[in-house]
C-alpha cells in the first residue's frame, strides 16, 4: 500500500517511470522477441503522434525480416481477438499509454 502511495506522489514522474517497453504477452523466441520489441520502440518513438505510420513501419520491417503477412495494431484503447501463427505474437505496452500488438498470420 505504501508503494501505491509513493506512486501517487510520483504522478509527475509517471511518464518517465512508465516509458519502458513492457511485454505483456509473447510466444516469440528470444532473438525475435528482442528484435521485434526494439523495432516497436523505435517506430513508436519515431512516429510519436501518428500511430498509423508507426504500425505501417513495424509491419513493413517485420515483413522484410521474418517473412510476409504481419499485422500490427497500435492504439491507446482497443480490444481484439486474433488468430496468429504460433511463435509469432507480441503484445506489449509502451510509453505508459500505448498498446502494441504484432502478430503473423497468413
Amino acid at each position: 500500500m505504501a508503494d501505491t502511495g509513493e506512486g501517487k506522489k510520483e504522478e509527475a514522474d509517471y511518464k518517465r517511470l512508465h516509458s519502458f517497453p513492457l511485454i505483456r504477452h509473447t510466444d516469440m523466441p528470444e532473438e525475435m522477441r528482442v528484435e521485434a520489441m526494439e523495432l516497436c520502440v523505435t517506430a513508436c518513438e519515431k512516429y510519436a503522434t501518428n500511430n498509423e505510420s508507426a504500425a505501417k513501419m513495424i509491419k513493413e520491417t517485420m515483413d522484410k525480416k521474418f517473412g510476409s503477412s504481419w499485422h500490427v495494431v497500435i492504439g491507446e484503447g482497443f480490444g481484439f481477438e486474433i488468430t496468429h501463427e504460433v511463435k509469432n505474437l507480441l503484445y506489449m505496452f509502451f510509453g505508459g499509454s500505448l498498446a502494441v500488438c504484432v502478430w503473423k498470420c497468413s
Binding site: 517511470l17 512508465h18 513492457l22 504477452h25 491507446e76 481484439f80 486474433i82 504460433v86 505496452f93 502478430w103
Partner: protein, 711 residues
C-alpha cells in the same frame, strides 16, 4: 617491196608450225620484220645483198638441160577443173524409164591431201569462248598469251589477204593490241560467275523424335503452420496497472538483492578470511593433493611401521645357523581393487625413483581376455597406487625409459604398443600405435626402450608372437614403425594351396639387448629356440640355440659378464648360456613352469626365478652351483601362480607378481646377498671386474669338459 611481202608470208607460214614452237619463233620474226620495215627506207644496200644470195637456185641433178629454143617454145596447157581420173561411164538403173542411163554429172573433185586445221577465227563463237576461257585461267599473265593470239590472228588475216602491205600487218598488230585490254576487262565478270557460290538458302533439315519421359504426378499435403488464438483488451487502466505491477516487481527484486548483498557482506565479516578458502576447497581437491599425499604417507608409515623397520634394519639372524641357505622376508603387499583378478603381466622398477615401480595387469589366459591396468606403486605407500591407467586391452609388458623415467612403453594383448607419460594427467596413453600404423597382430610380449636414435627421437623395440620385432620411433608425436626382424622358422614351410610356400613364423616371446654391443640382441620364441640377432641383418640370425622344449619365457643378459645370458622356459628349466657356445653352461630344473628369471644387480652369480607353483628360487652360483640357496613359497594361496620377478636396483628387495593381481615385495636375507668372503689382511675387492672374474671362474669349470655340465 613485193619481195618483202613474200618474205613476210613465208614467215607467217612458218608461224603456223606446231603450236609448241609458235611462241618462240613468232616473237623474233616479228620483231625482225618490224625492224626491217623500219630500216627498209634507210638501209637499202644491205637488203639487196641479202636478196642476191637468196636468188641462187639449187637445181635438181636430173633436170633436163634445154636449149634456148626449147626454152622459148610455148607449150600451152589448159587447166580444167575436170578430174582426169573420174569415170565417165557410170550408169544407173532408172526405174522410171526401166533402162540403164549414164549419169550426167560426175563428181570431179579429188582430194589429194586434207589436214584439219586448229586455227579459229577470233570473231567466231568458238574463238570468243576460248579466248574468254583462257583469260580466266591465266588472269594474272594474259599479256603473253594474248600476244600469241593476236599473232595467230595476224597470220590468218595475212594469209587470207595476200596482197596486204607490211604496214597493214602492223596496223593489225596494233589493232590486236587495242583489243587486248578489252578482252582483259571482259573475263573478270565471267570469272566471278564461274566461281562456285554456295547457295545459302539450300539446306536440309534433320530431326528425330525421341521418347518422352513419362510424367508422374506427385502431391502432398502440408500441415498448416500451427496457429493459436489470442485475445486481450488494451485500455489506459489496463496499461497503467500492468506498469505499476511491473514496477512493484522490480522494486521487490531490487530489495531482495540488496538484502542478499547485505547478508553476504555480514556473513563475510563474521567468517573472516579463513572460511573463503574452505569454500573454494570444497570444489577443488587438487590444491591439497600434495598435503593429502603427505598425510596419506604418514598414515601409511604408521600403519606399516613394523614393515618399514623390517625393510630398513631387519637381518635374519637365523641365516648364520642355516649354513648357506637364505630366506625371503615378505614385506609390503600391493594390490588395487580395480586390478583384482587381473594377472600381473609385467613389473618394472623405475630407474630414477628407487621406490617406484610399474605393474602391468592383463591376462595370460587366452580364453579370458579383458581390460588391462597400468599401476605405479611406491614402496612408501603400499595401500594405494601412485598412478593408475586403465586400458581396454590387457597389458602384456612394459618398460620405463632410463633417461626419461616418466615415460612408459607398454605392449598390449591386442598387438598395440603405447607410450604413457606420467607427467600428463590423462588416463589415456600419450601415443599409441594403431591398426594403420603397423601394430602387431598378436600379443606384444616384450617392449624395451632403446637409446635415442641419431635424430634424438625416442625409440623402443617390441616383440610379438606374430614373429615381428618392430622398432618404434616417436617422430613428431607419431609412432613410426620399422620391422627389424621377421622370425622365420628354418626348414619349416607349409605347402599352401597352389604350391605356395608359407613360412611359419617363429613366435617371439621375449628378447634382451646386449648391454655393450649395441646391435646384438637375443630373442626367445614360443618354439623354445633362442636366436642371436643383429639389428643390422633383418633376415638372418647370427646364431640359433635349441634352448628349450617349450616357450622361452625370458632371456636376460648378465649385467656384469658380457658373454653370459640366462633363459627360462615353461619346460621347468632355467639355463645359463655363453653366447659363443651352443650348449648351455648350467641347467636347473625347478619342477614347475618358470615364469620369469632375473639377474641380481649386485652380483654376477645371483639370480632369482619364479615358478607357477608359487615358489621363488634364488640362486648364487658362487655358493652353490647345483641347487638354489633359497626356494620358498611366497604367495598366500597355493593356487596363485607367480608370473614375474624383479630385483630392486638398489635395495636387497625383490618384487614378485602373481596371476591374481597381487604384488609382493620380499627382502633377501643376508645369505642371499653374500659378498665374497673377506680374507684377512686383504681389502675387499669390488667392482664389475671382480664380478666378471667370479663368474668366469665358474664357467671355466664347466667349459672344458662338456660332460661336466652342472645339473
Amino acid at each position: 617491196m613485193p619481195a618483202k611481202v613474200r618474205d613476210k608470208r613465208l614467215q607467217s607460214h612458218s608461224d603456223q608450225l606446231p603450236s609448241g614452237g609458235k611462241l618462240q619463233q613468232s616473237k623474233p620474226t616479228r620483231s625482225l620484220s618490224r625492224k626491217r620495215d623500219e630500216d627498209a627506207s634507210t638501209e637499202v644496200g644491205e637488203g639487196q645483198d641479202e636478196w642476191a644470195q637468196a636468188k641462187t637456185l639449187i637445181k635438181p641433178p636430173d633436170q633436163l638441160e634445154l636449149t634456148e629454143a626449147e626454152l622459148k617454145e610455148e607449150i600451152t596447157r589448159i587447166l580444167t577443173a575436170n578430174n582426169p581420173h573420174a569415170p565417165q561411164n557410170i550408169v544407173r538403173y532408172s526405174f522410171k524409164e526401166r533402162t540403164y542411163k549414164p549419169i550426167s554429172s560426175v563428181d570431179q573433185m579429188a582430194i589429194h591431201f586434207s589436214l584439219d586445221g586448229n586455227l579459229l577465227s577470233l570473231d567466231s563463237d568458238e574463238g570468243r569462248r576460248q579466248s574468254a576461257r583462257r583469260a580466266t585461267t591465266t588472269e594474272l599473265a594474259p599479256v603473253g598469251s594474248s600476244v600469241v593470239e593476236t599473232e595467230e590472228i595476224e597470220a590468218i588475216e595475212e594469209s587470207s589477204k595476200e596482197d596486204l602491205l607490211a604496214a597493214g600487218a602492223e596496223e593489225a598488230a596494233e589493232a590486236a593490241e587495242t583489243i587486248e585490254p578489252v578482252e582483259a576487262e571482259e573475263p573478270s565478270p565471267q570469272s566471278a560467275k564461274e566461281q562456285k557460290l554456295t547457295n545459302q538458302f539450300n539446306f536440309c533439315e534433320r530431326a528425330s523424335q525421341t521418347f518422352n519421359n513419362p510424367l508422374r504426378e506427385r502431391a502432398c499435403q502440408m500441415e498448416p503452420p500451427p496457429r493459436a488464438n489470442f485475445s486481450a483488451t488494451a485500455n489506459q487502466w489496463e496499461i497503467y496497472d500492468a506498469y505499476v505491477e511491473e514496477l512493484q516487481k522490480l522494486e521487490k527484486s531490487k530489495e531482495k538483492e540488496k538484502q542478499r548483498a547485505l547478508v553476504t557482506k555480514k556473513e563475510d565479516k563474521r567468517r573472516g578470511g579463513k572460511l573463503t578458502s574452505l569454500e573454494s576447497q570444497s570444489d577443488d581437491v587438487t590444491k591439497v593433493t600434495k598435503a593429502a599425499k603427505i598425510m596419506e604417507r604418514m598414515v601409511n608409515q604408521n600403519t606399516f611401521d613394523d614393515i618399514a623397520q623390517d625393510f630398513k634394519y631387519f637381518e635374519d639372524a637365523s641365516d648364520e645357523y642355516r649354513d648357506q641357505l637364505g630366506t625371503l622376508l615378505p614385506l609390503w603387499k600391493f594390490q588395487y581393487d580395480k586390478a583384482k583378478r587381473l594377472a600381473v603381466t609385467a613389473i618394472c622398477w623405475n630407474p630414477k625413483y628407487k621406490d617406484l615401480f610399474a605393474v602391468g595387469h592383463g591376462s595370460y589366459d587366452f580364453m579370458k581376455q579383458s581390460r588391462g591396468m597400468l599401476l605405479l606403486y611406491s614402496m612408501k605407500n603400499p595401500s594405494f597406487p601412485e598412478y593408475t591407467f586403465s586400458s581396454e586391452s590387457g597389458i602384456m609388458c612394459l618398460d620405463i625409459h632410463n633417461d626419461y623415467p616418466y615415460l612408459l612403453a607398454v605392449g598390449f594383448y591386442d598387438g598395440n604398443v603405447a607410450i604413457y607419460n606420467l607427467k600428463k594427467p590423462h588416463s589415456q596413453p600419450s601415443y599409441k600405435s594403431s591398426a594403420k600404423a603397423g601394430k602387431h597382430t598378436d600379443p606384444v610380449w616384450q617392449v624395451k626402450w632403446q637409446k635415442d636414435d641419431m635424430d634424438n627421437n625416442l625409440n623402443f623395440f617390441s616383440i610379438s608372437s606374430d614373429g615381428r620385432i618392430v622398432s618404434w620411433t616417436l617422430v613428431k608425436n607419431e609412432l613410426v614403425h620399422t620391422d627389424v626382424i621377421k622370425l622365420v622358422v628354418e626348414g619349416a614351410t607349409i605347402e599352401g594351396p597352389e604350391g605356395l610356400q608359407l613360412h611359419t613364423v617363429g613366435c617371439g616371446t621375449s628378447f634382451d639387448f646386449h648391454k655393450k654391443i649395441d646391435y646384438l640382441f637375443l630373442v626367445g620364441t614360443e618354439e623354445g629356440k633362442i636366436y642371436k640377432c643383429s639389428k643390422a641383418y633383418s633376415s638372418q640370425f647370427l646364431d640359433v640355440f635349441d634352448a628349450h622344449h617349450m616357450a622361452v619365457d625370458a632371456v636376460n643378459w648378465n649385467p656384469f659378464h658380457m658373454k653370459v645370458f640366462i633363459s627360462c622356459s615353461s619346460d621347468w628349466t632355467v639355463k645359463i648360456w655363453d653366447h659363443t657356445i651352443k650348449t648351455p653352461m648350467f641347467i636347473y630344473d625347478l619342477n614347475s613352469a618358470v615364469g620369469d628369471v632375473a639377474w641380481a644387480p649386485f652380483s654376477s652369480t645371483t639370480f632369482a626365478a619364479v615358478t607357477t607353483d608359487g615358489k621363488a628360487h634364488v640362486f648364487d652360483l658362487s655358493i652353490n652351483k647345483y641347487e638354489a640357496i633359497c626356494s620358498q613359497p611366497v604367495v598366500a594361496k597355493k593356487k596363485n601362480k607367480i608370473t614375474h620377478v624383479q630385483f630392486n636396483p638398489v635395495y636387497p628387495v625383490i618384487i614378485i607378481g602373481d596371476d591374481r593381481g597381487h604384488v609382493t615385495s620380499l627382502k633377501l636375507s643376508p645369505n642371499l646377498r653374500k659378498m665374497p668372503k673377506e680374507k684377512k689382511g686383504q681389502e675387499v675387492q669390488k667392482g664389475p671386474e671382480v664380478e666378471i672374474a667370479k663368474l668366469d671362474k665358474l664357467l671355466n669349470l664347466v667349459r672344458e669338459p662338456d660332460s661336466k655340465q652342472a645339473k
